[in-house]
Amino acid sequence: MSTMTAVPLPAVDPAVAVARTRPRNTLAETISQTLSMAWRALKKMRRNPEQFFDVTLQPLLFTAMFAYIFGGAISGNVTSYLPLLIPGIVAQTVLTTCMASGVQLREDMDKGVFDRFKVLPIARIAPLAGPVVADVVRYLIAATLTFATGVIIGYRPGGGVPGVLAAIALSIFIGWSMAWIFTWIGAIARNARSVQGISMLILFPLTFLSNAFVPVSTLPSALATFVKINPVSLLVSATRDLANNGAVTSQVGWTLLAGLVVIAIFAPLSVRAYRRHI
């Protein structure tokens, strides 16, 4: 057989194995396991390029479509609508990308390999956090492509390159935190299709009942109240402040805080749901 078998391995000694066991994972081990899971998710992405359709086509299509359809009606012309629209599209695209994370997790969990993950001595959060970490790549593509499409059709962000980069970074962070909501839905739902259904039900009102596509001043007062407290509005406003003005405003702070709160709630919920899914 292989040359490796030339050196016989020592016999398996249970007493030694028991003495070597440790009661729990350290933080360093948990991080290492999460990164290994992220590596797996990236490999899978590369082998299934259709997973990139949503993050590449949606920014291109939606940016151009919304700009030319609503630009004249909302802001008088396309160019003056872009500073309002582009950050909105970024938020929307990042959120739809999060939804895909939940659907994919559900599909993945139904495969045999997850049974093996459960029996390995690894942190229970690693199989969930791995894909979420790997999805940073998708958020990066989605946010960058949206800004690029905007620039091509005439968007000139006032915040310059630093402002846009900061806006992209903030969107990635929010995508990363919001993904935990959909991870949780993925872990509790019965199948991938129901994840999709539930997620759409949450996502559509959140993105359209926000300031993503229209100025809040144009809305009836009851709706305006909801739009103002909608976390998506926070993200959109913060992204606008960064990209259009290069300003780190209180909106940016609130958005970061909202992201952290979402992680603090939904990461533990997801792990709990995953533990039960046995």
Partner: protein
């Protein structure tokens, strides 16, 4: 000083709603043996194994693996056991090498060590040529071997094999048996579940027979066989024979209860000693019962099963078939075990 048992379980219970899928099983597996858990579909074999492997919470009772408590220290248990299920639990989108490397990394091996372990196992399992092929191109036997290899990366001292050869062709099955014997030769302990009686007979040093969540018998294959008599007289009665008369002769002459298959005219008689066979044949001749063929054989585990449980090994097959390589089926143990109950 006695060595710690590989598995020491007392009064294990697992309920799914009304149904007690595992109903008070005691188990003691010694270090370095192959222990077979034999039973029909839905008997509770897989449920018991999942409890011991920390995949299902234990409702009542206690289990220790090399002295470590399963319920309170699941993380330690996961470092001591390797589990190979009935279906391949490897990643379809990765190659064989990538799969093994990932499982090695996840268990704390350094990258180079994980790669070396992957190479060693692929060699050992005859998968070198397929090392960089995607799993989707693997045959069933190759998948199963890779699956077992993936459980062995850190060389766990206890290995759970859940129906390791279900669905394999005879040749691959023989290879798998050799591999399992090799694991024990290296110092590991193996607990395997099977519904193939000859598999338990071939591999296991000791066997527990599980039926409807209870352990109904335990012993070496020979002990179990001798519990139903040392030999079996197998008779093929002539087509127009009075089968009832034949049955009465056997009862009277040999004081034994024959197992009769009326349609084919086959009759099996458990015997304490082979001498009894002659008495029965003489009784048949005197009564004019004619036979087509006759042989004396050691009893098979099939007969053991029939005697111990009062029904055949494959009588209580459930609708959710154990053979099906579908993990979802395992999430519905109630359906499977429910079918087992109906047979009563």
């Amino acid at each position: 000083m006695t060595t710690t048992a590989a598995i020491d379980a007392v009064g294990l219970v697992k309920s799914f709603g009304q149904l007690r899928a595992v109903d008070g099983i005691d188990l003691e597996v010694r270090q370095g043996e192959i222990y077979g858990v034999l039973g029909p579909n839905g008997a509770g074999k897989t449920t018991m194994l999942k409890m011991l492997a920390t995949l299902l919470p234990i409702d009542a009772g206690q289990a220790r693996v090399f002295g470590v408590d399963v319920a309170t220290e699941p993380h330690r248990i996961r470092q001591l056991v390797g589990v190979t299920g009935q279906y391949a639990s490897v990643d379809e989108d990765l190659t064989a090498t990538e799969n093994l490397w990932l499982f090695g990394k996840l268990q704390g091996l350094r990258s180079a060590d994980a790669r070396a372990a992957a190479r060693r196992l692929l060699g050992q399992f005859g998968l070198e040529d397929a090392a960089n092929k995607p799993i989707s191109q693997f045959s069933g036997g190759m998948r199963r071997r890779l699956d077992l290899a993936a459980s062995l990366i850190t060389r766990p001292p206890l290995i759970f094999l859940d129906e390791p050869t279900t669905g394999l062709d005879p040749r691959t099955r023989g290879q798998m048996w050799d591999t399992i014997r090799g694991l024990v030769a290296e110092g590991s302990t193996v607990l395997l579940t099977t519904q193939y009686l000859d598999e338990a007979d071939q591999l296991a040093g000791r066997i527990a027979v599980i039926d409807r969540g209870r352990k109904v018998a335990e012993g070496t294959p020979d002990e179990l066989k001798s519990s139903v008599g040392n030999a079996t007289l197998q008779l093929q009665l002539a087509p127009d024979t009075d089968q009832e008369l034949a049955r009465q002769i056997v009862r009277r002459v040999a004081d034994a209860e024959p197992v009769l298959t009326p349609e084919s005219g086959r009759m099996n008689v458990p015997l304490d000693t082979a001498d009894r066979a002659a008495d029965i044949l003489i009784g048949f001749r005197q009564a004019g019962v004619s036979i087509i063929s006759v042989s004396v054989a050691k009893p098979t585990l099939d007969e053991v099963f029939l005697t111990i449980t009062g029904h055949g090994a494959d009588e209580n097959e459930g609708p959710a078939d154990d053979n099906e390589p579908d993990p979802a089926a395992d999430n519905e143990p109630s359906a499977r075990a429910g079918a087992a109950l109906e047979v009563q």
